[in-house]
């Protein structure tokens, strides 16, 4: 069988890749994609821990299910914001949206 830590390492890899994407990409949509990767890494972790440590309690799976709901809400609002910004500024570069910056 596959030891638990292998799943955790894969999840860590996914998280770190997503994190790099979020921190480094200029395009806001690409940043959102990175966030999705990070959320997925978290889900892999949740399910792996559920499977290896408490398979009789369903908390891991249930939390993963709620992560889906949160991810959907986040994607809906995030992308709507990006489209709204694009309409006004004709740009989806995150650095261009600096109205509140000083």
């Amino acid at each position: 069988m596959i030891p638990l830590w292998m799943y955790l390492v894969v999840a860590a890899g996914l998280f770190v890749i997503g994190m790099f994407g979020v921190l480094s990409r200029r395009n806001a949509i690409a940043i959102l994609m990175g966030i999705e990767l990070m959320l997925n890494a978290v889900n892999v972790n949740l399910v792996a821990f559920w499977r290896y440590q408490t398979p009789t309690k369903l908390s891991g799976q249930a939390f993963a299910a709620f992560v889906f709901a949160v991810a959907a809400a986040e994607a809906a609002v995030g992308l709507a914001l990006i489209i709204g910004i694009y309409r006004r500024k004709r740009s989806v570069i995150a650095d261009d949206v600096n109205l509140l910056k000083w």
Binding site: M1, I2, P3, L4, W5, Y7, L8, V9, V10, A12, G13, L14, F15, V16, I17, M19, F20, G21, L23, S24, R25, R26, N27, I29, A30, M33, E36, L37, N40, N43, V44, R51, Y52, P55, T56, L58, Q61, A62, A65, F66, F68, A71, A72, A73, A76, V77, L79, A80, I82, I83, G84, Y86, R87, R88, K89, R90, S91, I93, D95, D96
Partner: protein, 194 residues
């Protein structure tokens, strides 16, 4: 770990997921990046199957690939002038890369038994040494259904999820609906931007 069929599948899925995740953050063409994102998400669904959570695998494909990724592709199509940016990374990308690598190594050393095996430190690793999972009850799929709507367990989060999604839909619809556009604020020159 001996080479079992499961191990091979796990390895393939890891390569698929991490490889396409890397392509997501490195591909210039955002449409391709979105397709790679789908592939990565699909790999994660494979992990869920491997972890005996088929329900979540179904959730994953329906919600992430069928809906979120489609929404992302649509957003890419609606903002096409930026599919081929001259620079895809911001100024701090090298620092971020270093940060990411360091963070990954840190996590790796904590999560795996490697450090402990080397005898460097006895307390550093987190000791996730469960090698074989316990059996999952056969009814786990319908148990999840009961748990989600059971007032003793996850009923409140279940309803809150509905409230959250309602809020998200209302907010997002307000942001993109045609009536939300006030034209006097819009920039007069059209072709500015990247």
């Amino acid at each position: 770990m001996d080479i079992t069929a499961e191990a091979i599948v796990f390895l393939l899925l890891s390569v698929l997921t991490l490889g396409s995740a890397l392509l997501v953050v490195t591909t210039r063409n955002l449409f391709h990046a979105a397709l790679y994102l789908m592939l990565a998400l699909f790999g994660v669904a494979g992990f869920f199957v491997l972890l005996a959570a088929p329900f979540l695998a179904g959730f994953q494909v329906v919600v992430y690939i069928g809906a979120i990724a489609v929404l992302i592709i649509l957003a890419v199509m609606l903002t096409p002038s930026v599919t081929r940016l001259p620079r895809i990374y911001n100024a701090q990308w090298a620092v971020n890369l270093a940060l990411a690598v360091v963070f990954f190594l840190l996590l790796f050393s904590v999560l795996t038994p490697v450090v402990d095996d080397l005898g460097i430190s006895g307390t550093w690793g987190a000791n996730f040494t469960q090698n074989s999972p316990a059996d999952v009850p056969a009814s786990s799929v319908s148990d999840l259904g009961e748990a989600l709507v059971d007032p003793q367990q996850y009923m409140l989060p279940f309803e809150l999820a509905s409230v959250l999604l309602m809020g998200a839909l209302i907010g997002a619809a307000l942001l993109v609906s045609p009536t939300a556009r006030d034209d006097e604020d819009a920039p007069h020159e059209s072709g500015q931007g990247a």
